[in-house]
């Protein structure tokens, strides 16, 4: 799984973009999106996903259950 941003909740404040250790977050169509190929759930970098921690709106950066779980760099 990786994280995704709920577009209807996103205020487009850009706080997550600068915090992402994987540079996985970019602005697209007025809100921000996470590139699932780059997202590592911050494993290996931080104890908690940075986008979740910095986002001003609760339940906006959430696990994307539609995608397989992040397997680490070896995967």
């Amino acid at each position: 799984m990786t994280y995704k941003i709920v577009a209807s909740q996103c205020t487009s404040c850009s706080a997550c973009e600068a915090e992402c250790p994987n540079v996985a977050i970019t602005e697209k169509g007025g809100t921000f999106v996470i590139n699932p190929k780059k997202c590592t759930e911050c494993i290996g970098y931080f104890d908690i996903p940075q986008c979740v921690a910095v986002c001003p709106v609760d339940n906006t950066c959430v696990i994307d259950n539609a995608l397989p779980r992040y397997q680490g760099n070896a995967a």
């Binding site: 205020t11 487009s12 404040c13 706080a15 973009e17 104890d47 908690i48 921690a53 001003p56 709106v57």
Partner: protein
């Protein structure tokens, strides 16, 4: 004391209770309430003679640092800093009503390049625009690259414009050197507490060193960083204003302590603002029903802190993309689409020429006030009254009663006329006020005033105002405000002394909240 304060009704006019309360606060905190109108260098009304020359030079054209300047000079905010590093219970980043006028709200965010273009466009159109601020809508120092890039571009193309920024202070100590490097000589820090126990009720979390931190620990880090940043700035001679949001029952009494803490660290000016809180804002405080202060509660707290340091009372709690004189917002004239089409001709010389005219007017205004004040010399009376003034700026009574979106409030005594605040009277697009009579709205907002000065007023509202005990005064149309106010007060005293008029203590008034109705 604690109960006494909390028991004051929001809309009740209880001057005795208020006085009593403020005296108790003052005794407790060791500052004077008796100086409410006396301190010669008081308020942002401080003028050339009250301040050190180097400080006066810095603030004289800055509408947010000088009450006197705010009648004449305009500011603009550019919304280049959307990200924030803390969460406040009075803020909701999802709120986006286009008519809303309060911090944190913008219609569109800008890149630094767009911001620089916008500043030039505005400065060419509004020659009295002297100040450019980055105030969010998030925290400028949580977006340091964008904020400083903006400053860099503007200092290159419009070197006469003063740069300032407004921050929550969490990241401030890390950026003080950069702030100094870009000649940003006005910084505002929002400090709502110096006690983390109280802070925990205002800030649900901060984002700090890659972690979300909550509760006491979060507030402790925040207050330490704020005060450290303040000290670092004042050591470098950068002027600091402190903004505090007055939240009744949470930090209202505590703000006297905040006032002392920031004064002792060299803050130049303290701006205590009323909490803006309505359920439709969707903020934590809005949803929990946390009320804001009444007009007299706010004034009493500002008065009680004034013995300690300069107080700002002309703050309009403007948007992070506001443009124009305080109290007006011309941001709709300068949307990104419009500025990109504008032919910009930045003419430093014509701006200077215009500003010189403004200076002449200012000097005339001060001279008129001083001449009028001399005629009051020797008069002795304990009477103090508030008056409301309809003005479009320039320090004159020059707005029609029915057109006024706000009134400026002056306190009159034998010491003269002192600006003590302003009241919004515009209508609102939501919030339960929409259907009431517009006149009732005005009366509620200036109910603590004995008179209202206007350039013109119709017969009907005149009668209603009189019935409410407010004297409608149009005899000073287009005259200077302070000179007229002192003249009026002289007449008032004479009438009271002769028994023609009975001096009555007025009640309290409402501070109105909510979004502007588009005109």
């Amino acid at each position: 004391m604690e109960e006494a304060y909390q028991n004051i009704e929001h809309d009740a006019g209880e001057p005795d209770a208020l006085d009593d309360l403020m005296q108790k606060i003052a005794e407790h905190k060791g500052c004077e309430t008796t100086g409410s109108s006396g301190k010669s260098s008081c308020g942002t009304g401080a003028g050339a003679n009250d301040l050190a020359p180097e400080i006066w030079e810095k603030v004289k054209n800055h509408p947010c640092y000088s009450e006197e300047a705010h009648h004449h000079y305009a500011r603009m905010h550019v919304a280049v800093a959307p990200a924030c590093n803390i969460q406040c219970n009075y803020c909701n980043r999802k709120y986006d009503c286009a008519n809303e006028s309060r911090p944190g709200v913008v219609s569109e965010k800008l890149t630094p390049e767009q911001a620089a273009k916008k500043v030039l466009a505005v400065a060419s159109t509004i020659p009295q625009m002297t100040v450019l601020g980055v105030a969010g809508p998030g925290d400028p120092l949580a977006n340091p690259e964008k904020t400083f890039k903006t400053f860099e571009l503007i200092s290159r193309t419009a070197p006469d414009i003063k740069l300032c920024l407004s921050t929550n202070g969490l990241a401030l100590p890390d950026h003080v050197d950069t702030i100094a490097k870009f000649n940003v000589d006005h910084v505002t820090i929002t400090i709502n507490m110096v006690d983390p126990e109280i802070g925990a009720k205002i800030y649900p979390w901060i984002f700090w060193k890659h972690k979300r931190i909550t509760g006491y620990e979060a507030a402790k880090i925040l207050t330490d960083r704020q005060l450290q940043g303040l000290e670092m700035l004042t050591e470098r001679g950068i002027l600091c204003k402190v903004n505090s949001v007055m939240i009744p029952g949470v930090n209202d009494k505590h703000l006297v302590e905040v006032n002392r803490a920031v004064k002792s660290r060299g803050a130049f000016l303290h701006n205590i603002m009323p909490l803006i809180s309505a359920p439709e804002h969707g903020t934590v405080f809005g949803l929990t029903g946390q009320r804001g202060p009444s007009a007299q509660e706010l004034k009493a707290l500002q008065d009680s802190c004034e013995g300690e340091m300069n107080m700002m009372r002309h703050c309009r709690q403007c948007r992070a993309d506001a443009v124009g004189l305080l109290g007006e917002d011309r941001s709709a004239e300068f949307t990104t689409d419009k500025i990109m089409e504008m032919e910009v001709n930045y003419d430093l010389e014509s701006r200077k020429a215009y500003q010189n005219k403004v200076e002449e007017e200012r000097i005339a205004k001060v001279e008129a006030k001083n001449a009028e004040l001399e005629t009051l010399a020797g008069a002795s009376s304990d009477i103090e009254i508030l008056i409301a003034v309809a003005t479009k700026g320039s320090g004159r009574v020059n707005e029609h009663f029915g057109h006024a979106k706000e009134f400026q409030i002056y306190e009159l005594s034998t010491k003269g006329a002192k600006f003590v605040g302003h009241r919004r009277v515009d209508l609102y697009c939501q919030g339960g006020y929409g259907e009431e009579d517009a006149l009732e709205t005005v009366i509620r907002a200036i109910n603590d005033c004995a008179a209202v000065f206007v350039a013109k007023i119709g017969g009907c509202p005149k009668d209603s105002l009189r019935a409410a005990g407010i004297d409608p005064v149009d005899q000073y149309a287009f005259e200077f405000i302070e000179q007229s106010a002192i003249a009026y007060f002289k007449d008032y005293l004479a009438k009271v002394n002769s028994g023609e008029v009975a001096h009555v203590v007025r009640g309290d008034a409402d501070i109105r909240q909510g979004a502007f109705v588009p005109v």
